[in-house]
Subunit: 153 residues, 2 copies
């Protein structure tokens, strides 16, 4: 067990969230950024990324945690307002990129993985009309996110 | 798209988290419960379940959100103290059971899905000795969770 645990994970120098934005930036402040993820099958997939290379949520101070979760839930609110999804999925995993980031994902009955998590096996093909209709809403989503974060500050 | 969205999801009467505890209860208060999940391949898999049938995190009031996330992160702390996992995974999905609950999962290089999410395809077989060693720590985990929640109240 100890040998298996000795596997090395990316350090800051090799971390893709330290080397790049991780998506199309909607908003950035001193602590975090909110990006539209490059997940073409799941339009509206947003990531909230802590700027510093911190491994786990409990490595952050309580006021930092509160601000980060506030941003995650502001994104949830914006997604609900713009997309009316069937469900919101939230996740902080980071097994491959151990740098705190949240996946905020609007889920729909016709998305390729519903009702499974987006990381599970595909359930169906893409509904191109639905994907295109949701992609058309991305500028409105970005605006809604910025408005909701501004109203919290 | 509207037709696909009309799919019905479980109501309170049919909700498995309204009808049962959802695991072996470690701690329960008026708002939430913390359970050891029945996930034999992932010992230490904990769920934090809101008692009321609430669909999304943003359907909760801000003080409720703060207490729920406080409990989730107290579990993360306890898992780190007892298991020293390679990574913690946090997720609130609920596509099949739209009743707010958090998965708090300690991840290890030798677990069957690492570095993929536990919902993705299996990467390897189970290391029985590792699983048994971790199962033996579950009573200590339960104790650690109760102590950390108590210290917050």
């Amino acid at each position: 067990m100890s040998t298996a645990q000795a596997i090395s994970l990316p350090s800051e120098a090799a971390c893709e969230l330290c080397r790049g934005d991780g998506g199309a930036v909607v908003l950035r402040n001193d602590e975090l950024r909110i990006v539209l993820a490059d997940e073409p099958e799941h339009p509206g997939f947003v990531r909230v990324i802590w700027n510093d290379h911190v491994r786990e949520m409990t490595d952050l101070a309580p006021p930092q945690i509160a601000r980060l979760m506030g941003a995650v839930l502001a994104v949830e609110d914006a997604l609900r307002a713009v997309f009316t999804p069937l469900k919101i999925n939230l996740a902080s995993l980071g097994n491959m990129t151990p740098h705190v980031h949240w996946h905020v994902i609007p889920r729909f009955a016709d998305d390729p993985h519903f009702p499974k998590p987006v990381w599970a096996e595909r359930q169906r093909g893409i509904d191109r009309a639905s994907v295109d209709a949701r992609r058309a809403l991305l500028p409105a989503l970005a605006e809604e996110i910025r408005a909701r974060i501004a109203s919290r500050e």
